[in-house]
Symmetry: C3
Subunit: 344 residues, 3 copies
């Protein structure tokens, strides 16, 4: 990237304390198993401690010095945050130049802000609004009356159905769909009758949603994703779900209709939430867990399993499960030994 920074300057710019030679110059950032001289790296995971010890990197971002390491250290109480800042310094975001492709289809009744980037084959329908400096990659569809805020990034083939509202600085990855019909059908003798899904979706500022995820519009009212919340790839959010702020949801998780997920919740991959339940603020859901009822933070902070139970109980249970055959044998032995013949 051509960036050259003295370690002492780097420490100052990212709010880290330098432990080591401040005059050394670094020019890039690399993973801990690959970083060499002139590079900064990051100790994320205790599993990689041995890499830190032998690393030829010029500096390692970490919470504490690693005994025996040759590198300098950039020490931070929030090393992952410091790492984010360092990566950004060496890789400042490259914005697509502003401009509207003549190959886009923009309805004259749509409203497009200043300095937007609109790639080929984008469709902006009647009444839609696109905020200043927002970037629409190829094939993005902004439906009728949909509203996109400022400084958003909508990657290729993102689809916003009619009327949905997206905040500012929102990132939607390729193939993400917002505002598709909720899954609602009334059984009748002639088969299912579709419940018209006439609500909408509102997505707060600074939200990021992964590739090929889908957020359904409300049947009535609003499906809502709060400010700063992050969804991974292939996540399904049902109709009328309300998610708070700064919640993170990992890939392939499914949230059924009308769930209320709090703020600062963390949900592991492939978790599933049945409809009409609540997950309170700050709760952590393990990967693959299945939630069938409302979870209260006062009862437990971390939940696992299907149906989800407090994580420590799940852990104890999981470790005993493989011993079940042995337990059956032990009970059989007790029965054989202890029940005098003729008694049963």
């Amino acid at each position: 990237m051509g960036n050259e920074i003295r370690l002492s300057d780097l420490a100052a710019r990212v709010g880290a304390r330098l432990s080591g030679e401040g005059d050394a110059v670094v020019t890039g950032v690399a993973p801990i198993e690959e970083a060499g001289p002139g590079q900064v790296t990051f100790l994320a995971n205790p599993k990689y401690l041995h890499f830190a010890r032998t690393s030829a990197a010029s500096a390692i971002i970490a919470k504490d010095r690693v005994e025996g390491a040759r590198a300098a250290f950039l020490l931070s109480d929030n090393p992952y945050f410091a790492f984010a800042c360092v990566v950004e310094l060496f890789h400042p975001p490259v914005r697509r130049p502003a401009g509207i492709s003549p190959l886009a289809s923009i309805h004259p009744g749509a409203s497009v802000g200043k300095d937007v980037t609109i790639a080929p084959f984008v469709v902006i329908e009647e009444g839609a609004v696109v905020g200043d400096r927002t970037v629409l990659y190829p094939g993005v569809v902004v439906g009728e009356d949909a509203v996109v805020g400022e400084d958003c990034l909508l990657y290729p083939h993102v689809v916003l159905y009619h009327g949905v509202r997206i905040g500012s600085r929102v990132i939607l990855h390729a193939g993400c769909v917002v505002g598709s019909d909720g899954f609602g059908f009334a059984p009748s003798r002639e088969g299912y009758r579709k419940i018209p899904q006439v609500g909408t979706v509102e997505i707060g500022d600074d939200v990021e949603i992964g590739a090929n995820s889908a957020v359904d519009r409300a049947a009535l009212g609003v499906t809502r994703i709060g400010r700063g919340t992050k969804l991974d790839n292939l996540v399904q959010v049902g109709h009328n779900v309300v998610i708070g702020a700064d919640t993170v949801i990992a890939g392939l998780t499914g949230i059924a209709g009308s769930c209320r997920i709090g703020s600062r919740v963390m949900i592991g991959g492939q978790a599933g939430l049945a409809g009409h339940l609540e997950v309170e603020d700050g709760i952590i859901l393990g990967a693959k867990c299945g939630v069938a009822n409302t979870l209260h933070a006062s009862e437990a902070r971390v939940w696992s399993g299907t149906p989800a139970i407090p994580h420590p109980a799940w852990l104890r249970m999981s470790m005993l499960l493989p011993k079940l055959p042995e337990l059956f044998r032990r009970v059989k032995r007790l029965e054989d030994a202890k029940i005098p013949k003729g008694e049963e």
Copy 2:
């Protein structure tokens, strides 16, 4: 919406019995926690009974009157169906005006019906057929020789591979893929050899499929989804699967190759079905269940867990699982107390 309807008229039009003041006029429909004067609402879930009691709505659609509620009631044996009718009355479907965008790419050898809507950047390939009044949103791709019936809605970026056949009144949500290759590879010493997937897909009338779902074409023969069946978002249907009529399948469910799913089956979210098995008519599969063998309705109607067992047995088992550590302790205590020293 400007619609004004007297409650007595509304009751008559949706086939409900009115309990309350018939002259009151309603102008819209709202969720039960929000509905106010002039609005109709719907009591879906016993959890929301307290909302019904205090609601200021003009009328509530329900199976029975709620004690103490001030609202009038529209009583129906199938309240969810009545609700669907009411929503439709206040929100009649708005059809995109017919017309073919000059920005679409339609092969001269394709056949397009009357009063169709074809948005910009739609591609219709050679030999494809699109029925009357069908709406193709931006970016839809109708592959060679694919056939789409009448009055269908294909939302943005739906992809139909070559030769697949879609019935009438079918709704495919954004990013849905129909006819991709099944997952079939023959192992050999030089790695996997692709089994050409030369079959096709047939989707019956009145089917709806959610956003970013994928239905694979058959290896040989036909992958089939029966009339009136509804699939949620992010559902995977493998090659040569046959699904009956009026079956509903919730999000993130995966159905492996050559399964036969009956009619009026209900499958919860994130369920998984191994290949080459059968699920008989009317069976209900719990969310997240894993089906490894054919399920007979005569054995149980509702199945849960992995591997799936009859739901009542699964429920009993699930409630005991967290007590497993205690059971181990109890067995240990029995062993300690009862096995005389020296015997083992």
Copy 3:
């Protein structure tokens, strides 16, 4: 199809031994439950043995003759492979004619090989490279500096983010996304801060990836999918994952960041792998399993359950689980019978 082949010729061309009348002529291939005179079929699954016995097909590809069957047999040690060859003989791949649609948007700074097919509404950005004879279906997006090898098939709406590298003879199905940002955010007092994802993705030769799957780019470094590996639909591959050669991964599986999956691994549908773990060469993971730690092939070849344990142990455990209520009763009975009154 028009293809007519004598059985003796067919056997020779696919390397099978003929058992039966070599002069018979076959003209097509069909599933075993449908195949009739003049058709070849395939005995894949012992479940279908009864079809083989009564089949009117002219020939059946199988490992061994089926007692009592009237058909001729094409015997092979690898019948699935022979079947692939036979299907290909009767259904040779039909390639879209080469040519570049005037409706595609190709940056003058992109490099496009010989005899490529570029459909309408394809976007190829600056610096991208597309190899000879590669086919880009409608709506494919090849991002800046992305490289696609020779003889690839990219189905509609495949999205390659900037800089990713795809080998030769790679097949990417509709809606597949390669190079989206990994899921990395540093918590801070002001909410999450995005870790810039500045790495890339490399996909080896002969890889196939299913519809609507997503492969994230590395945070730093490279997310890698090895030669010949096959991914089904709706699979999620996190950032910095490394997958070996000839591995197969079934639908709706999620692989969290920095996992290392070996070669010739087989992963069932809806499996989930937590981050930063290793799955050694040749391991088989059951459908729906949840892997929380590194799996060593020396410990077990097949793993199942959540958390994953060796498959035989999981099987024993799974068969005992429904008997848990009975076990609780048996322990209670032992306690009642054996603990003298007054002792507790």
